[in-house]
Subunit: 248 residues, 2 copies
């Protein structure tokens, strides 16, 4: 059995993948149909229109995101289950719960830039989570709310999101995908270092209690001027079709 999904689900998944990569307006029904191996008429037979298909994919993705976000806002303690640096960043959550090559990071990017109610609602939701997280950190004595807590939470959020929005650009100049395991391992400590002591401090943290005062494994090597063939992205190759996320 090569594929146990219904044809309808295949169409939805292919639309999701294409929407994430190129934006919904740039994707035609015929492209979706070809990617799903069906006729264009069948796409509108299952979904009433392209716009309705888009809304359905949006809703599906938002449901998955809400499940991922419960990881951050779930109980209150951040849960130190597995090792590694638990920044609580969105990138780490995506990496831990989504298969490699998942189109969901791209869909997140597209939604945030889309000028739609879905995108605005998602950003408001993320901002609320960011504020809650900052409050929790402040209550735990791990951070200060700053002079302007709303602005501070917003800055922390958009800094987190910028990795999603500029993923390809960062991959090009750093030679490493910032949303890969290796990328997060390299980016995370540096970001933590800034958050811990600002731009002047070098030590990971001045007063964090336990463990890991050592540099992980980011050498001073410079892959900078070699943008050639870094991590591939598989724009239209026949990749794992069920790479969406374990939910629903």
């Amino acid at each position: 059995m090569p594929d146990d999904r219904t044809t309808r689900a295949v169409i939805r998944d292919e639309a999701l993948r294409l929407f994430a990569a190129q934006g919904p307006e740039a994707v035609t029904i015929r492209q979706i149909a070809t990617a799903a191996g069906v006729s264009p008429g069948l796409v509108v037979h299952h979904f009433r229109s392209k716009d309705n298909l888009r809304q359905e994919v949006d809703q599906y993705v938002l449901t998955v995101f809400e499940g991922l976000l419960s990881e951050l806002t779930g109980d209150g303690t951040v849960s130190f289950e597995d090792a590694g640096a638990a920044t609580g960043s969105l990138g780490e959550i995506f990496l831990q719960h989504l298969p490699v090559g998942s189109p969901l990071p791209g869909y997140l990017r597209m939604l945030l830039l889309s000028d739609t109610d879905a995108g605005r609602g998602l950003f408001r939701r993320l901002y609320a989570v960011s504020r809650e997280t900052l409050d929790a950190l402040a209550d735990a004595g791990a951070a200060s709310r700053g002079k302007d807590p709303q602005v501070r939470a917003a800055l922390l959020l958009v800094n987190d999101l910028s990795v999603f929005l500029l993923r390809d650009q960062l991959t090009a100049v750093l030679g490493i995908d910032p949303l890969s395991a290796a990328g997060l391992a390299r980016l995370g400590p540096e970001l933590l270092s800034i958050y811990a002591g600002g731009l002047n401090a070098d030590a990971p943290a001045p007063e964090i209690p336990p463990e890991a005062p050592e540099a992980p494994e980011a050498p001073e090597t410079a892959p900078e001027e070699a943008p050639g063939q870094a991590s591939h992205q598989a724009p239209e190759a026949a990749q794992a079709p069920e790479a969406v996320g374990g939910q629903a």
Copy 2:
């Protein structure tokens, strides 16, 4: 004389404005023609094709950007000409040298997200500037290069750019345009605070020599849940047509 620009320049400026707002693919030649008050045929008469028009606008914008960037990489000292917090952020440069409502910030956003050689080249250029700036700050003893200078410069850059990319979303949740004078006055100090001492420090800076240890004017007021009619954006009103930038 209501407009001393040539018709060709009017077309280019309207194309620039529309491209920045909606992205080139979403803008039709007929929209550009209508905005410029000419016929569609004249657009392709002056510029050979839509794609060529786009390239020409790209080149024009990149030239203006290069002029703005010389502000950062010009001599070496950051030049404390006028007062205020000189973060050296791109937002401040844009605000100082561009008229309000300029489409150039939107064009910057579009270019960075566009998956084109122009966008990739611009990001590489900005990354180079970011590295130079970090090096200069480190040489001046104002910042540390961190354990991974390349990553640190990249993080500082994308954090700066995120305000451009998520400008509308930030305006919605904060109730203030982060690229306006008031927005920068509110965002800048908070960002400086993080860069100065990390997330734990409240004081503006532990060892910066002179001036301004006081909170500017950001009260604890919460315009948070009132997204209604904040700063307007003038999507298609007849605004100042020559609002592009003093150059070329």
